[in-house]
Amino acid sequence: MKYLQHVLDHLRKDLRLEWRSRDSINGMLFFSLLVVVVFGLAFDPTSYPTMARQISGGILWVALLFASITALNQSWTREQRNNVLEAQRMAPSPASALFLGKALANMLFVLLVEAVLAPIFIVFFNLHALGNVWLLALILPLGTWALVVNGTFFAALGLRARNRELLLPLLLLPISLPALLAMVEATTGVLTADLDPIQINTWIKQLLGYDIIFTTVCILLFETVLNAE
């Protein structure tokens, strides 16, 4: 219970910080909107509805992946001002509570972006899902968590490195590829209804397994990363 309280405290602090500046949400929103527009111009999806369905799952996740990288790079930097991070290292709360709070906050930001992006996406890509749309309510949070949990971890890992902005995508993209494959396949399967439900189930299970494994690894190793000197 004490641990949960610590996590919630960190979460509340992150939400308040974001509420005061709204930098990362605005940045993510505009960036992902741009990606959608750029891909829309490049492929002209409205005239080819079948192709639009096939590529839109991939484009949605690539847009979200790139957008969350821009926000994740910032998420620890604001803790560095006035040595807040040093204070948190000395605080009596466990390091993994700090990590979980931050990851949950980032997750909420990305989910908010998804909620705004989804209608725009449907309009611009002229989408009409053929499969069971409610499955997306499962795929989107699981996929977002997969991106955000590793992203928050590797942003902290690269915190004191040279070329921090470059290092995060270099580390995050290879690690996220299995999750990216699972979420793109599942989303495309729902949109096109080409995949039978058992296959979609398998992809969702793989995504869930990925989430569980990497959340565990992140929580176990975060203290090492936070105190790396």
């Binding site: 890992l157 690690i175 690894v217 090492t224 990363v225």
Partner: protein, 245 residues
């Protein structure tokens, strides 16, 4: 400071000589002695290079993983031992990149000859490419982060990368792929003709000994760099003590 005795140097040269000799025998076996493959012709001989190297490029990451775990364990308790583990982790990671690159390249040549395409996004190929990308990003991290924390951060990343290695290994067992099913230790149809085995084993032994040789060479080099760094740090401290306060 370690003593580089002539004996040790002799052993290293002997090892290098043995690996070259074994590779030469393996070359003769694979290129001249094994009968030509009925279905593939001479192209099939790439088997003796592709398969042993692919097997080894899945073994070196585990050494890297174990060394990284030892590094994380010894980091605070015994920093000097931890540095040894870190040097081993670095050298195995570099050799992993080399071996998996060769595996990908020979595989592409073979694929071009038998399938007609250089590359296909099938699970085995994709996961092997992923393994290569992960270890390249590991080496990138080691270059980008400043000296103090490199070892710890790299060891942490190695744990993440090691999670992927079993996926590569199991990929041809889990999914039906264009890549051939496992030849050794696979299903009922696995195994090769006995006439092919000597060439295969000679090459496997050769590339193992050669890989271990490179790992040890790189390990010794990294250890020397660490000693030089410690020496420089010590001299800096001594010099600062001599300045009249």
């Amino acid at each position: 400071m370690e003593q580089r005795t002539p004996t040790l140097r002799g052993v290293a040269w002997l090892w290098f000589g043995i690996s070259v000799a074994v590779l030469a025998v393996g070359f003769r076996q694979a290129i001249f002695l094994v009968p030509t493959d009925a279905a593939q012709g001479n192209v099939g001989r790439i088997f003796y290079y592709h398969v042993p190297i692919a097997m080894l490029s899945l073994i070196f990451p585990y050494i890297n993983f174990v060394a990284s775990l030892f590094y994380l364990y010894w980091r605070r308790r015994e920093p000097l031992k931890a540095l040894t583990a870190d040097a081993l982790a670095l050298s195995t990671a570099e050799v992993t990149v080399v071996y998996s690159s060769i595996c990908l390249l020979t595989g592409m040549l073979w694929g071009r000859a038998t399938w007609g395409i250089w590359w296909t996004w099938d699970p085995r190929l994709t996961s092997m490419l992923l393994l290569w990308l992960l270890y390249v990003s590991y080496l990138m991290l080691r270059r980008f982060s400043s000296t103090g924390q490199t070892h710890t951060l790299a060891a942490v990343l190695s744990v993440f990368a090691a999670v992927d290695v079993p996926i590569v290994y199991m990929s041809i067992r889990w999914w039906r792929t264009q890549h051939p099913a496992p030849v050794f230790g696979g299903g009922p149809d696995s195994g090769v003709d006995p006439s092919m085995l000597p060439a295969f084993y000679w090459n496997l032994a050769g590339w193992t000994v050669w890989g271990v040789c490179i790992v040890l060479f790189r390990f010794a080099l990294e250890r020397r760099r660490q000693f030089a760094e410690q020496e420089a740090a010590l001299q800096a401290i001594e010099a600062s003590l001599e300045i009249p306060q």
